[in-house]
Amino acid sequence: MAVQSNFRNMVLCLTAVCLVCSALLAGVYAMTKDPIDKTNAEILRASIGAVLPEGGELSEAKDAEIGGQASEYYVLMRDGSPAAYAVKSTVVGFGGPLALMVGVTTDGIVYNTSVLSHQETPGLGAKCNTDAKFMGQWQGFDTNSKVLAVTKDGGDVDAITASTITSRAYALAVKNAVDFVRSLAGAAPTDGASGASVPAGAPKNDGGQIDE
């Protein structure tokens, strides 16, 4: 069995083990750093590519505050001027943070959206990532004539059945992204521009209402 312990061999043993382990980890880290960076960059590029029209040149990530949170966005440049923006927008969903990538063209039309990460209930809110009808309605959603809120709140977004809170959060995330793009262009936020009014406090996720 094990060696009798004394101060010297305990210190020696722990030091040696930690040194070998750190060296091993440093080696593996150096080996996997490039593949990890490459994979992450590919995932990001795929999520941006899915929400923006093709053609043009994509800018580097730019930091911004979107919906009150530190986030980032990318600009699609075409012929020297911005044509569309891909905005990373995070809100609180039903089960935790709901992060979206939202593509918005400069004239205020949502090109497409994609879910980066979510923790919604399987089979209910999680449909925001699979339900063709819900996801399809964002393509070409014209924020100049439509209101970014679920129909229950007087908007034009069809909610997922039995998942109003998730749908509201999704709509809010898109709205935050659109408002941000509008603020870049110097225009008023969606509520004012569309002329329609959203009931006060309606898009809030107060958690008190359990309909999911």
Binding site: S5, C13, L14, V28, T32, P122, G123
Partner: protein, 194 residues
């Protein structure tokens, strides 16, 4: 004990999930589908075999009073290596299992095998022991995941045979307890009895 028995005892007699009830946290949390259960099982298997080998190699020179910290450092090293490798080469599985990969460090099975077996046996025997227990854990997790997936999502290994949703409770936490409980009953009734 023969080499063959070393492997098979982890499957039935010392099955970590259904008999020893170790590693319940990943068992309940990651088995939402057969593929997730399988990935978690294989990840644990990888760590078990390597940490068992390393620990049985260094055990004779480790002073008794510091053996637990030494084992944990060794286990944590292998888990971190696994985490980096998964992040680089299997990003999809890494995202799905997420937090539960680093938590393998505190999985009772790994430290349990180090303490109960690896520190007293040869490197080869320890590797076989790790392999056996790891396979037992993998098979158990895959079966639990498969049952939950069939009942909860109407699919098996991602292949959907039912349109629409299944019984969603089985994909969520309560279903994990139910499935584990019933499988444990069946296991002890038909397989583990002598």
């Amino acid at each position: 004990m023969s080499k063959f028995q070393l492997i098979t005892k982890g499957l039935v007699k010392d099955n970590p999930t259904f008999v020893l009830l170790l590693g319940m946290c990943p068992t309940l949390a990651t088995t939402t589908s057969a593929v997730n259960g399988l990935s978690m099982g294989l990840a644990t298997l990888f760590v078990l075999v390597l940490s068992n080998m390393a620990i049985s190699a260094i055990a004779p020179v480790v002073p008794d009073k510091v053996h637990i910290p030494v084992y944990i450092v060794v286990i944590a090293t292998f888990v971190t290596i696994l985490q980096l490798l998964m992040q680089a080469y299997t990003p999809d599985i890494y995202v799905t299992l997420g937090l539960f990969i680093p938590l393998i460090v505190v999985n009772c099975i790994v430290l349990g095998r180090a303490e109960a077996f690896a520190c007293k046996n040869s490197v080869v025997d320890s590797a076989l022991d790790g392999l056996g227990v790891g396979i037992g854990f993998t098979v158990s997790l895959t079966v639990i995941g498969l049952v939950r997936e069939i009942l909860g999502s109407g699919s098996a290994f991602g292949w959907k045979f039912l349109s629409g949703d299944g019984m969603l409770a089985f994909v969520m936490a309560p279903g994990a307890f139910l499935v584990l409980g019933y499988l444990m009953v069946l296991f002890n009734k038909f397989i583990a009895k002598k």
